[in-house]
Symmetry: D3
Subunit: 197 residues, 6 copies
């Protein structure tokens, strides 16, 4: 009984993740941008679609990792990237871990283990989630630019925004996306400008 | 190559699911309500959390079902419930199936099979997804009412809005949620009124 | 007394039409786009302005048609165009008619007759409403593109988006609008690109 | 040709009326409230429905009056009611008339005459539009309060917010609306409080 | 006691200034644009930063002027610029002054004096506030255009939108801003077009 | 020249503060809540109004402190309160200070000194800003609850949300605000409930 009340609290609190917009988009003037929940769904979808094409990968575990990987943001918010270099080393990770420990408390211990697996990036499953996390970013940027957003051009120039080449199915989607982007900018010189402000 | 272009199109189009707000909330004046993507993430989370407590249930397959179950709405929109009784029998289901066949075309055939499994409700996995679909609705209603929404009271009175008792872990959360709701309305008589307009 | 309660219900429900955004804009990332109510007002305005320039046209009846022509969307939502080819033939029309019959029930029978006249397109009044329905779409597209929207370029390439030449006053506005659009794209090559994603 | 360019300018500018939210709602915290365009559509609908029940009333002319009655707000904005007592006597009316003269310039002179008829309130048609303008306000207030709005209670206490008894079909709707409101507040004491801040 | 109730009313009402979006942006389709409160904060920040570089300027008094200069809009709304030429001469100023007299009543008389100082523009402090009021407009236009807004290009062509050269620190920022704008439009021809609709 | 480019960058970046909504409101479902810029303006207004009533207080310096006190949020976001207990001790303060040092770099050193003064709370000026920071929170909560917000009731129960009694003019406003709140809840029992979810 008490346990289910605690579980209910977790399920209610998880709804608040919809109220956390992705800060990078907000700060670049995207109206009503993707929430962390929406980002997380798309990462899950990518993991499910692309994970099935990677021999030997445990898709169910990868999906569990994807489900929990951004949950801490319900208590920490989505800190903008610019914030990273101001915190003392390891402080954000420590805060995230502490928040996750509380958030996941009503769940069996393996939920917590999945989050730690994500942090360590030692398994292909955790690295696939990270790769899909990045891939989803660039797919969304492509969509927002198609709608008229002008402040995202710099994203294409930063190699770290793209997943590395570890997983071939991921790399193929990246290649197709880059190609699509090249075709767009070829016909629209304005889209080539790097700096928006 | 061509295949990945098609896959890319699917991944780009999936982002548009964020642009489909849940119509029941929109029509009741909830500002910036849950998108179909957000609803779907929460259903997935419930399936993952509660499915693990159901002996013998194939959680990975249930998560696949949850991932695809609302995808057709990217092309059909989220039709309000009131629309159901106006369409000729089976028309909406036929439209959804036709849309799904096209949307899922770039994926292996088992994606399509998961959707059909969901429609038939013959397996525990498909029924768990449906149960979590309903449970998530009532959890969100609880959250929105806590924020001040006045137009959702009728949801608590319609038994069909709640999952049936097939899965004990689901039933326990439902019981905790109803209890929480009773406590709230006990202290606030205004919350007992059924009709909002 | 009872009748006015029913009429009151209709008048209250009509307010909900403001909560139905035009789906084509939502799916192309227009923030806070036109509602069905707003679209309908602009169609009415066009019918009133242009109808007065068409000899022999019954403007009052045309305005009645324009007032009712999208009312069903308060119960069906604004289905995206992509949905059209998935429904069995005639299903959407049947749903709309069934919804309209209920919505218009508190009104005299001629309200229903106006809607049927619109569906049949046999009278100049009904065809003028349809022509203005299309013209308003392209006028709004012109406005949204001026504000920076990038996802609407394809609208200009589809001849079916424009009214045909039946009514000269309509055709003159269409010609002026196309001319204005040509001037804009001539000075801004980026606006010539057809595909946004 | 030149004339139609001017007409096109009017039709384009009219779209901007959607960008003018009703200030009374904005200032009371209604999220995404009714635009002037939406208000105007509902007034038109009321005029069309109720005007048909008033013997001898020229519905077409009344609809024309309703179409133009708020057009000046595209250039003046929707001034909050509180502003009225600060302007020198007649200044707002003079500004509205001056704006209307320019806005309606591309139309035949009878458009301007309809606006003047509205200002004078000497004809039943102009008074019906004013009555429906008020009635629509209170219908929308009823809807917004049903959704949870807390800042609108004072509207029910000010007799001037309601149309007078000149037109029986209007009075019947007002009576039904008041009755509905009494039923709601009877079951919810919180709705009886007058002052929101 | 009574005095503090009145002061409280002022402080509560001041919060409503957040509900007044800057009308020029709204009418050009900027989603969720700057409120009058936000504009006013940025003007204050400019006055504080640039005022400190102007020898002999009384920064504290300039900040007081900046704090009150737009307060009347909480009761009048933010009238669009187009409205200016429709009001009888002096009517808007008279309305603003009348509103300010009431709004500032709970404060000592020097608050009222600051507003009058602003209207007269006889002191450097009042002229600096006006200069920063204009400078802030163009800085925000730069930001919104960087995000993709298409309807603001005309602002750059109207000399009256820029502060004059009275204050050197202001003039230096203006020069840097114009330079930044030239660089942007040089690389993006589309940004050079003047007319958006 | 270079210096003014840097100053321009600061002024442009400051505009982004409008894009940082106050997280406490977002997480409680307030639609379009106060931005950090708006909060900061109201704090400034309180400091200006109440500071003038405190003998010997340096209002200009207090206003400078108020202007800078939340600037770091343009790079860090507005971290929800819940986040506080997860970060290692002092980490957030360290991040804020590091961000402030960069943000304020284009300004004279005394800007930085004002921020440090705020952190230390050793002067009445810095403590007044903090007192007004709290007072503004509760004033806004009063406004949002008047509009129908249901999730903010807990704010009234936490003594730490209110300024202490150091400054009499602040304490008088607090007393008036509490009195106003008591009157509201006396007539509306529903407003007395503490827990919203």
């Amino acid at each position: 009984m008490k346990a289910n009340e605690t579980l209910l609290d977790l399920l209610l609190e998880a709804q608040f993740l919809d109220q956390v917009p992705r800060s990078g988009y907000v700060l670049r003037g995207i109206a009503n941008p993707e929430s962390v929940t929406e980002h997380s769904w798309h990462v899950l979808f990518l993991v499910w679609v692309l994970g099935a094409r990677i021999p030997g990968l445990d898709v169910q575990r990868a999906m569990g990792i994807a489900l929990v990987h951004d949950l801490a943001e319900v208590r920490l918010g989505d800190l903008p990237r610019t914030s990273a270099r101001y915190f003392p080393q390891g402080a954000k990770e420590q805060a995230e871990s502490a928040a996750m420990a509380e958030i996941l408390a009503p769940l069996p211990a393996d939920a917590q283990a999945l989050y730690e697996e994500y942090l360590e990036r030692k398994t292909p499953e955790s690295r696939l989630v990270k790769a899909c996390d990045k891939l989803q970013l660039m797919i969304k940027v492509m969509v927002y630019e198609g709608w008229g957003a002008g402040g995202l051009r710099e994203f294409w120039k930063k190699e770290a925004n793209f997943p590395d080449g570890e997983f071939e199915p991921v790399a193929e989607v990246v290649a197709a996306l880059r190609q699509r982007h090249r075709e767009r900018t070829a016909s629209s010189p304005a889209d080539q400008i790097g700096k928006s402000v």
